[in-house]
Symmetry: C2
Subunit: 345 residues, 2 copies
Amino acid sequence: MSRPHTWKRFHHKSRHTGAVVGKRRDATLDDVAHLAGVSVATASRVLSGRGPASKAARQRVASAATELDYVPHAAARALATRSGTRLAVVVGGPTAHVLNDPYVGRVLAATAEAAAAREVGVSLHWQPLHDPAELGRLAENRGIGGVILVNPTEPALAVVPKSARVAAIGIGTRDIPSFEVDNRTGTARVVEHLLAGGRRRVAMVTGPSWLPCTGRAVTAYLRAVDEAGAPPRLVPGDFTAARGEAAAAEIMARWPDTDAVFALGDLSALGALDALRRAGVDVPGDVAVAGFDDIAFAALSRPGLTTTTNPVEDIAAGAATAVLDRRRSSPLTFYPSTLVLRESA
Amino acid sequence: MSRPHTWKRFHHKSRHTGAVVGKRRDATLDDVAHLAGVSVATASRVLSGRGPASKAARQRVASAATELDYVPHAAARALATRSGTRLAVVVGGPTAHVLNDPYVGRVLAATAEAAAAREVGVSLHWQPLHDPAELGRLAENRGIGGVILVNPTEPALAVVPKSARVAAIGIGTRDIPSFEVDNRTGTARVVEHLLAGGRRRVAMVTGPSWLPCTGRAVTAYLRAVDEAGAPPRLVPGDFTAARGEAAAAEIMARWPDTDAVFALGDLSALGALDALRRAGVDVPGDVAVAGFDDIAFAALSRPGLTTTTNPVEDIAAGAATAVLDRRRSSPLTFYPSTLVLRESA
DNA sequence: TTGTAGGCGTTATCAA
DNA sequence: TTGATAACGCCTACAA
């Protein structure tokens, strides 16, 4: 209970008054253990939550820790536990330019917040399509405690070691839990809304074909129009505004009687909307336009863009906490996509 | 040169062929040292770049390291060197909502990329205005190797320990190097462009008053209009589209002969543009509108928004590398703001 | 210029 | 349930 050697008592209550205080050594596990009158081993068990500890010990260690304002040293813990010190966010895409996508920014910010709460950092990486070598190297990196795959491709999923702590957004496998926008339902809602508004010939501008979620949305679209006895009208897209413009022109040339355009991705929808209006088409009078994602500008465009809003931050946070807490989560978690009605449809 | 004990030779060339390989222990400094035939100390000196080492040793260690595909264990290094394992991005603002700002996403993504190259992670934090206590705690956290302050306030700057490795974006001090958009020049360019286009009564919608860069831009605006003999017309703003709308109404009510509106922040500019058009004002015929920042939607709006583009990613990367490399950089680095001409002005 | 050895702060093993 | 003690992988006096 008492130490044979003198112990430099460590105590600094209410340090953070806003003023710059003299730099003092931060509290260490030793400090906590001594203040609580137990061994470091016991203190460690209590604070890390693993291993046995008596009610009494648990109590004393806990109060000692708060008393000393103890914060575990992340690096030391990572070293001892071989757990890695950061969470890698790996984004699949044709070029490194995807890292500048606002969507990636949202995912990264939410991930970083969740990670910060657990004393871990985040790093950002680009995963070239069809070249998963870099991903393998990343997953093996000892500094990396977990990986969040954003829009991975099949080959990328295949190369991730089964041992790694991984979650995915966009598509997963049996071994890799994934956190998804329920864009099947989201798409259905949009198409149903268009049909309910009296539109009978609804065309769809898809997303890039390599993106798994594109397939799910297309399927949902085809099913919805089929059930309504409406003709399927598909045009490939890539989420860009430019492609949306071209797609709209293509649609009106090929099927002049089209009365609604649904684009997977708001940028494409806005591009289509713009192209239609420039061509003298009244939106939503002649043709309704709807998008997907509810980016900030959807509310700012004139007319406002009817679209679907997705809880990207929740999804990213879910994936991050699943990885960080090593939770064995269900292989597939869907987050609801909600229709947002504006003037365009 | 030779070890007394048997050494489990560690060697795994070309592991990363894309296939899932059997998990093998990663190369450690010991492995490198042995392969190079030197002590760990020497290997460490060579690889960390500090301390003396003979040409020969340097050479052998280097090739051994690449041969073994050696990557330093970030946690171990951080532990030994007390350097921290992640970079904190701290964003000042009225509410935690600022963390969802696309601008923050850009900064974070660029920072995370720069950090990833140095085996460190990034975490994201909100700094409430006028309550720097949390910042002090953060700067003391042993896990944090550096701090990047985004739009800090004066009290926040004051509380950062001088010892900490800190850089700022938005405003700095003598001790805290800052990396800035040259929005004085940027503002001048915009106003000059408006004047050159024949506009004589240019109103400005400012940014939030607590933001230091707002002051710089306002000063530049006042100077530019003064030099042209034009009347100063200032209306407070907060970067939001809603405020831009209200500001436009305010401007036209107060100074009906205004022929140009310059808003600090594209969202406000777009809001103003929208309000003007709804009020039957022709843009740019009657009134020109210009913004600042060149957000994605500036190009998508109709008419396209004339604005200024800023190298946010470069700025963030500059701040990050300055902190990570412990570079003693000049106290103030400006990045150019470039005029982007579109239809609105 | 080099090597030996002692931390850095936690966790985990193994007796007690 | 507890407490020594040996890792964990790297850095760095210090001595050679």
